[in-house]
């Protein structure tokens, strides 16, 4: 051991140079006109976090309204507007595009490419997203939509939702859908064509795998919702009767079309998060991911099955029994590859050397919460049980465990993990860990009791309830929890904002990670890499480190006593 010393600074030496061009334009103009995937990625992340904040404020207003029975903070109308805005914002303006943001920034870096395949199309994706958000949020000055994020007709028809908000919602779906579709094609082409030499499909990082499948699912699902909302638009404004039961149209047609998109959408939101976890865990467990092939394969299987389970959202709708049985079994099936993933992540921790950074804590917190969300999903997939639980707070609890405990926790884990790469600075680890615990406790207070609310008969989307229903205590706990959870998220936001100026300088590879994005400076230069090494495994940086270790005798990857673990 005496000849081996801990590396005091990241080795290997980085082989990229920033090309400094004399500045000719204003800085903001640089951002507006950029086609650099990293800048677009940053803009995606900042914009989506703004929408996350807006959606969060809407959630807090709803929780405040429900904190006590017979509350009059908001009216039934405003409450319906809030729940529609909240759901739509979180899904179409936060979780889906935030994954595109991470994908934008890191897919080219992880596969050793200099940019996305179509940089201008990439910029178009971002600006379409912004446009969709503006069109949608402008409706708060007139009549926000109020038919829920599913917008089931006839409630969303002109007769029952006369305001323009519903049309604004339709345009939001069109614009963000176009944005995601263009982005998905871009991701697909980039990943298929622009991988580094030697990066065969068996060596593609798992996050890149998940973005590839995310892109494929978007391409499958988005045209369906685009068609459906166009039909709704013509129903509302041009006298068609696709969904109008008084003229032989069918609301159930909408339910099927919507959820044929809606269920793959759930996996569109969660699969990239799975990918991030599959990157974060091996780095901080200091060992290879357990079952690389199984994780990649399960991603594909989940994507395939996700197009065959949509009608489990319609178990209470008029449908023949055999259809119910089919969709119960297909929904059970999708639990198997998901279980494989949880098993592989747990096994990745097994006999590792766990460095409990903030990123790692959010990642492990994710596994626990997603496990609960997955188990409650089995209750809902069993259609007779769903007859009791559908449209209750049990469902609300379930999908928040999946999408907040699942997707959002992975997003925060990913942000802590990649923040040093994006900004060149480390976040405050202590604050990140405090933020995790506050959020984790607040989250469980908010949503765990909602299972009990659903079991005791509280339907979702009601703006108030009577005291004698016995829901007051759980609702109060849930509302208090929501504010605790919000505090936790604010702590992380503050951390991200402050560390941009005051964080410790990270260097190119602060975590001693495995993938190629750590082979360049932090933040990377415009061209990403001057030269790209030949890829020999799924962990190219580890290979390089081992090589350097063999040549110089300097231990590159220690047992977890790195300085950042104590920071």
């Amino acid at each position: 051991m005496s000849t081996i010393q801990h590396a005091s600074r990241p080795v290997p030496q980085i082989l990229v140079h920033e090309v400094h061009k004399p500045r000719q334009t204003r800085q903001w103009l640089d951002w507006v006109t950029t086609t650099d995937h990293k800048r677009i990625g940053i803009m995606y992340l900042v914009l989506t976090f703004v929408f996350f904040t807006l959606g969060g404020v809407e959630a807090l207003l709803m929780r405040s309204q429900l904190s006590v029975p017979n509350n009059t903070l908001v009216s039934g109308l405003v409450y319906n507007e809030l729940l529609t805005m909240h759901g739509t914002t979180m899904i179409f303006l936060f979780v889906v595009p935030v994954m595109a943001g991470f994908g934008n920034y890191f897919v080219p870096l992880m596969i050793g490419a200099r940019d996305m395949a179509f940089p201008r199309l990439n910029a178009l994706s971002f600006w379409l997203l912004l446009l969709g958000g503006i069109v949608f949020y402008a409706s708060i000055f007139w009549h926000p939509p109020q038919a829920g994020w599913w917008s089931y007709p006839p409630l969303s028809s002109k007769l029952y939702s006369p305001g323009g908000g519903q049309d604004a919602w339709i345009f939001l779906i069109h614009l963000t859908g176009l944005s995601s579709l263009v982005g998905a094609i871009n991701f697909y082409v980039t990943i298929v064509n622009m991988r580094a030499p030697g990066m065969t499909w068996g060596r593609v990082p798992l996050f890149v795998w998940s973005i590839l499948i995310y892109a494929v699912l978007l391409i499958i699902a988005l045209p369906v919702i685009a068609a459906a909302v166009t039909m709704l638009l013509t129903d509302r404004n041009f006298g068609t009767h696709w969904f109008d039961p008084t003229n032989h149209g069918s609301p159930v047609l909408w339910e099927n079309l919507f959820w044929f998109f809606g269920h793959p959408e759930v996996y569109i939101m969660i699969l990239p998060g799975f990918g991030m976890i599959s990157e974060v865990l091996p780095v901080f467990a200091r060992k290879p991911i357990f079952g690389y092939k199984a994780i990649a394969a399960s991603t594909i299987v989940i994507a395939f099955l996700s197009t065959l389970v949509w009608a489990h959202h319609l178990f209470t709708a008029p449908m023949p029994l055999v259809v119910l049985g089919f969709f119960m079994l297909s929904s059970f099936l999708i639990g198997i590859p998901t279980g494989v993933k949880i098993f592989n992540w747990t096994a990745t921790l097994w006999r590792g050397s766990l460095v409990m950074t903030a990123s790692m804590m959010w990642a492990i917190g994710f596994i626990v919460l997603f496990l609960i969300g997955g188990i409650t999903g089995i209750f809902l997939a069993t259609f007779p049980v769903d007859w009791q639980l559908n449209d209750t707070y049990f469902v609300v609890a379930h999908f928040h465990y999946v999408l907040v405990g699942g997707a959002v926790f992975t997003i925060i884990a990913g942000t802590y993990y990649w923040y040093p790469k994006m900004t060149g600075r480390l976040c405050n680890e202590t604050l990140g860990k405090w933020s995790f615990w506050v959020t984790f406790i607040g989250f469980n207070l908010t949503f765990f009791v909602q299972h009990a609310l659903g079991l005791s008969g509280m339907p979702r989307r009601i703006y108030t309830y009577q005291e004698h229903m016995g829901w007051s205590t759980y609702n109060f706990i849930s509302s208090v929890g929501a504010f605790i959870m919000a505090t936790g998220f604010v702590m992380s936001f503050y951390n991200f904002a402050r560390s941009y100026k005051t964080g410790k300088v990270a260097g190119p590879d602060p975590w001693k990670a495995n993938t190629l994005e750590w082979f360049t400076t932090s933040p990377p230069p415009v061209n990403n890499f001057d030269s790209v090494p030949r890829i020999r495994s799924v962990e190219p940086m580890r290979d390089i480190r081992l090589e350097v270790e063999a040549q110089t005798g300097t231990l590159q990857k220690t047992g977890g006593s790195e300085q950042f673990a104590r920071a």
Binding site: Y152, T316, A317, F343, I378, H451, Y465
Partner: protein
Amino acid sequence: MSRARDLLATLRRRHAVAAAVFLPVAAGTFFAAAQTAAARCCTLPSGGSPNATAIATLYDIILGLGIAVFLIVFGFIAYSVWKFRASKHPVAAQFHGNTRLELSLTAAATMLLVVIAAATFIALPTIIDPPNSNANIGSVLSASLTAPVPPNGKEVTICVMGRQYIWRYTYGANCNKTAWQDRLPYSYQEMEAPAGEVVKLVIQSSDVIHSWWIPALGGKVDAVPGYTTYTWFEALHANVLYHGQCAQLCGREHAFMTAEVNVVPPAQYAAWLRQQSNAIQGQNDQVAQVRRYLVKQGILTSSGNF
């Protein structure tokens, strides 16, 4: 020194006695409290109607399996986080996977789901098929493909019509076809139902999608305009008022679209139907009287227009 030891021994003995008394009591209290708490928080309503009870049983089976799976996986994660933290376990084992373990755990997960699927299909007949019923109150209804019918074909039929933001119930066979001609009795918000009889519900909506749901009397069924859906219940206890409310977002007063089912003995139900019919008839007569008067005065035309 020895006195101290004596004292210690006495204390220990006292503790043992106290523990012997206290622990079972505490454990008993704890389990009783846990059971009550569990009934309040963690189970579905059962005992109201056979279908609700069967669903609650199915739920309990899945809950048991789910808790077991959670504890095992969470145990592994918690153990790993504790045992393999970097400060105690500085060198990570470098292994890439274990195909045999992977496959056997996949098979185990599959088996678990097969068990749940089997339990579902075993419980299903109790949930969707009503048992035999005396049902001398309503008339016998011919079987249809989608409507639930007891083996002996006897059942009480009640039509449920959802509209923003109230439920209307029409009592009697053919209630969704010839209710007006047959002068069937109807009521709003609170449904009267006979105990111990199979009640078939014919569910429709006249505007937007609603969802009929009385938790204690079985699962929910959407009321979709343009469609007719069916469900049934057999209320086992008389003189109970069951509460429920619309479960599908139906507009701004969705929260106040409540429903009550007042379960009464069959004789009382029959009496209530007669009374309701008479009351409605009385009201109709009064309206007709007013109308005749208005026509006579020339305020209304004979076809009822102003």
